[in-house]
C-alpha cells in the first residue's frame, strides 16, 4: 500500500487505464501542459504525449461534444470540466445528448466515457465555483454518478468508470484533493454501484457522500463517546447505480436514517434515499427520517459564512441526537 493524496490518485487512476488501453484519451482545459488547475493530472502529458492528453480552448460544449463523438466511434475518452459548476454551460451535451442517445437509438451505440470534475464547497471560491451538483446528474436517466471520499476510492472507482461501457460523471470533492490515504499497490479497480459501510452501529444509520463522509464519521465518534449513541456510517460512493441493498440492510438494523448532503436542500440525493426508505422500510422505522443539508441558498464566499451553511460535525451530531433521544 502506498500513501497517495486524493489529487495524486486521480492521475494514478487515469495513468493506470491509459497504459492498459490505447483507446483512452484525456482532454480538458489546462489539463495537459499545466497538469490541471488542481494539479490532479500532472505527468500525464509527459507519459502519454499530446495526441492522448489534450489541452482545449475554453469551450465546454466542444469538449463534451468531442468526448461524446469520440466515444460513439470506438474510443474511451475522459474529459475534465474544471469546476462542476461549469456543467451548466454544456448541460445539453451531457443531459440531452450523451445520456439519451443510446436509448433513443434503440441501443445502437454506447458511450464509454468519463467526465471528471472538481465538485463541492469548502474552498471559499464563492457561489459559482463551489456547488455540489451530483444531483443534477442523478436526475438524468442515462448517467452513472460517482463521488469518492478517499484516495483509494478515487483510483479504484475512476478506473472502474473508465472501463465501464456507460457514461460516468465522476465528481471529485475539491476540498479533499490534499487529503492522503492508503491506496492498494498495483492494478486497482473497484466496482461501481457499491456503497461502503464505514462503521457499524445499532441506533442509527448515517448516509453520507464525498466530503460529508469524514464529517459523518467524526460525528459518529462523538455520538459514541459523548452521547452513547451507536451509529452506522455508510459512504454512498455511487449515486447511480445506487446500492440500495446496503442502505436498506443497515436501516433495517438500526431503524433510523439520517442523510448528510452537501448540496442545497431541495431535490438532493438524500430526498431520493429518504423516499426509498419511507416506502420500502416504513414498517421497520423507529423514527422520522432526517436530512442534514446545506440550507437552500447559494454558497457564500467568506470562510466564516461558508462554514456556517455547510453541514458540519456539530450539526450532524445534534440532528442524530435529537432523533435518537
Amino acid at each position: 500500500m502506498a500513501e497517495l493524496s486524493y489529487r495524486e490518485a486521480v492521475a494514478a487512476g487515469i495513468a493506470q487505464e491509459m497504459r492498459r488501453d490505447p483507446d483512452v484519451l484525456f482532454l480538458g482545459e489546462d489539463v495537459a501542459a499545466a497538469g490541471g488547475v488542481f494539479k490532479a493530472t500532472e505527468g500525464l502529458l509527459d507519459e502519454f504525449g499530446p495526441k492522448r492528453v489534450k489541452d482545449t480552448p475554453i469551450s465546454e460544449q466542444a469538449i463534451i461534444g468531442a468526448t461524446m463523438g469520440a466515444a460513439m466511434t470506438g474510443l474511451r475518452p475522459i474529459a475534465e470540466i474544471m469546476f462542476s459548476d461549469f456543467f451548466a454551460v454544456c448541460w445539453d451535451l451531457v443531459a440531452n445528448q450523451i445520456a439519451k442517445t443510446r436509448y433513443m437509438t434503440d441501443g445502437q451505440c454506447s458511450f464509454p466515457l468519463v467526465i471528471r470534475s472538481a465538485n463541492g464547497g469548502g474552498s471559499r471560491f464563492g457561489a459559482q465555483h463551489s456547488q455540489s451538483i451530483e444531483n443534477w446528474a442523478m436526475a438524468i436517466p442515462g448517467l452513472k454518478v460517482v463521488a469518492p471520499s478517499t484516495p483509494a476510492d478515487v483510483k479504484g472507482l475512476l478506473a472502474a468508470s473508465i472501463r465501464d461501457p456507460d457514461p460516468v460523471m465522476f465528481f471529485e470533492q475539491k476540498s479533499l484533493y490534499s487529503v492522503k490515504g492508503e491506496v492498494p499497490d498495483g492494478e486497482h479497480v473497484d466496482t461501481l454501484g457499491t456503497a461502503r459501510v464505514v462503521c457499524t452501529g445499532t441506533d442509527v444509520t448515517i448516509a453520507a457522500l464525498a466530503a460529508m463522509v469524514p464529517r459523518a464519521l467524526k460525528a459518529a465518534k462523538i455520538l459514541k463517546s459523548e452521547h452513547g449513541i451507536s451509529a452506522s456510517v455508510i459512504d454512498i460512493r455511487s449515486l447511480v447505480p445506487l446500492d440500495t441493498q446496503t442502505l436498506l440492510k443497515s436501516v433495517s438494523e438500526t431503524g433510523r436514517l439520517v442523510t448528510v448532503e452537501e448540496n442545497p436542500r431541495l431535490c438532493g440525493w438524500g430526498a431520493e434515499v429518504a423516499s426509498i426508505v419511507a416506502e420500502e422500510l416504513f414498517w421497520d422505522l423507529d423514527g422520522p427520517i432526517v436530512r442534514v443539508t446545506t440550507p437552500h441558498v447559494p454558497l457564500p464566499s467568506a470562510a466564516s459564512l461558508e462554514d456556517e451553511v455547510l453541514p458540519n460535525v456539530e450539526r450532524i451530531v445534534r440532528s442524530v441526537q435529537r432523533l435518537v433521544d
Partner: protein, 313 residues
C-alpha cells in the same frame, strides 16, 4: 433525390392521415444537398444530421421501410419507435444520429472526426445544419475546435432562409450566416447553389479530399429552400408568395431532370426511374403499415450498454 422526394411526400401524406404522430420536418426542396454529399461520401464516413434528416439518412442507404416505420412508431422502425422522426440513426450506415437540439451535433461531429484522426482511418465526418444554427454557441465552439485540431470534418450549412418562422436575415448580423463567418475560424468562405446537385457534389468531393489529406475542416454554405413549412404544424404562410414561386422554379429535381434530358438521357429512361422509385415508396409504405407496434417492454430497456435500465440493486 427522387427517392428523397418520394419518401418525404409520402411522409407528409401519412402525417395527414394521422399515421405519423408528434412532429416531423421535411426537406422537400432541399434534396440536392443530401444527395450531393451522400454520393460523394465513402461508405464508412460519418453523417451527423438534424431533425430535418430523413434525406440525409436515406442517401446513406438506410431502407425506406425503416424510416417510414420509425415515423409511424412501428416495430420495423429504424429505432423501433424509441427515437421518432427527429432522431433517425443507423450506425451501420454511418448515420451517427439526427439531433433535435439546434447545434448540438456540431461538437459531437468534431468528436467523431477526432476519433477518426486518432485512429488514422481516413474517415471523414459531415455535419448538416441550418442557417439558424449558426447563431447558437455550439456552432462557434465546434468550428473553432475543429480548426485548432485540424479535424477531418465538413460543416454543411443548408441556408433555407428561415429558422422556424423567422427570416434568418432578421436575426443575423451578417448576410450569409455561415460563409460570412468562415474567416472567424481561419477558413475560406464557400457559398454554393445548394439546389444544383452537380455543384454540391463537386464541392463535397473537394472538401472530402481536403479533409482526408489532413488539411482540416471546411465550412460550406449551400443556399436552398424548403418547399413546405418548418414542421408538420406549419403551413409556411409567413413567406411571400413570389419568394416561394421563385424557389419552386429552382426545384433541384425538375432542373436536374431537364439537365439530364439535355445531356441526352431519354424521357423513357427517366420515367422508368421515377416509376421504380414510386414503386419502392409504395412498397415501403405498405410494409411499414403492416408492421405491428413495437413490444412495450422496449420502453424500459437499453438505457445502459448491458441492455438494462436499472439504477439500483
Amino acid at each position: 433525390m427522387l427517392e428523397c422526394r418520394g419518401l418525404e411526400k409520402r411522409a407528409y401524406d401519412l402525417f395527414m392521415q394521422n399515421l405519423v404522430k408528434g412532429t416531423s420536418h421535411l426537406g422537400l426542396g432541399q434534396e440536392a444537398v443530401a444527395a450531393g454529399f451522400g454520393t460523394a461520401m465513402r461508405p464508412d464516413d460519418y453523417t451527423f444530421c438534424t431533425y430535418r434528416g430523413h434525406n440525409h439518412t436515406l442517401v446513406r442507404g438506410v431502407p425506406m421501410t425503416a424510416i417510414l416505420g420509425e415515423l409511424m412508431g412501428r416495430a420495423c422502425g429504424l429505432l423501433r419507435g424509441k427515437g421518432g422522426s427527429m432522431h433517425l440513426t443507423s450506425i451501420q450506415h454511418g448515420v451517427m444520429g439526427s439531433y433535435a437540439i439546434v447545434g448540438a451535433h456540431l461538437p459531437i461531429a468534431a468528436g467523431a472526426a477526432l476519433s477518426a484522426q486518432y485512429r488514422k482511418t481516413q474517415q471523414v465526418t459531415t455535419a448538416f445544419f441550418g442557417d439558424g444554427t449558426t447563431n447558437i454557441g455550439a456552432f462557434h465552439e465546434a468550428l473553432n475546435l475543429a480548426v485548432v485540431w485540424k479535424l477531418p470534418v465538413v460543416f454543411v450549412c443548408e441556408n433555407n432562409l428561415y429558422m422556424e418562422y423567422t427570416p434568418i436575415e432578421q436575426v443575423t448580423a451578417v448576410k450569409n450566416p455561415a460563409a460570412d463567418r468562415a474567416a472567424a475560424y481561419g477558413l475560406k468562405p464557400i457559398l454554393i447553389d445548394g439546389n444544383d446537385v452537380d455543384v454540391v457534389y463537386e464541392t463535397a468531393l473537394a472538401a472530402y479530399e481536403k479533409a482526408r489529406s489532413g488539411d482540416g475542416p471546411s465550412l460550406i454554405e449551400a443556399q436552398t429552400y424548403r418547399h413546405g413549412g418548418h414542421s408538420r404544424a406549419d403551413p409556411g404562410k409567413y413567406r411571400p408568395s413570389e419568394e416561394v414561386e421563385a424557389w419552386l422554379a429552382r426545384d433541384p429535381i425538375t432542373n436536374y431532370r431537364a439537365r439530364l434530358e439535355k445531356l441526352g438521357i431519354d424521357g423513357e429512361t427517366l420515367g422508368r426511374i421515377e416509376a421504380d422509385v414510386q414503386a419502392a415508396v409504395d412498397l415501403a409504405t405498405e410494409t411499414a403499415k403492416e408492421s405491428p407496434k413495437p413490444p412495450l417492454e422496449i420502453a424500459g430497456i437499453d438505457v445502459w450498454a448491458d441492455g438494462g435500465a436499472e439504477w439500483r440493486n
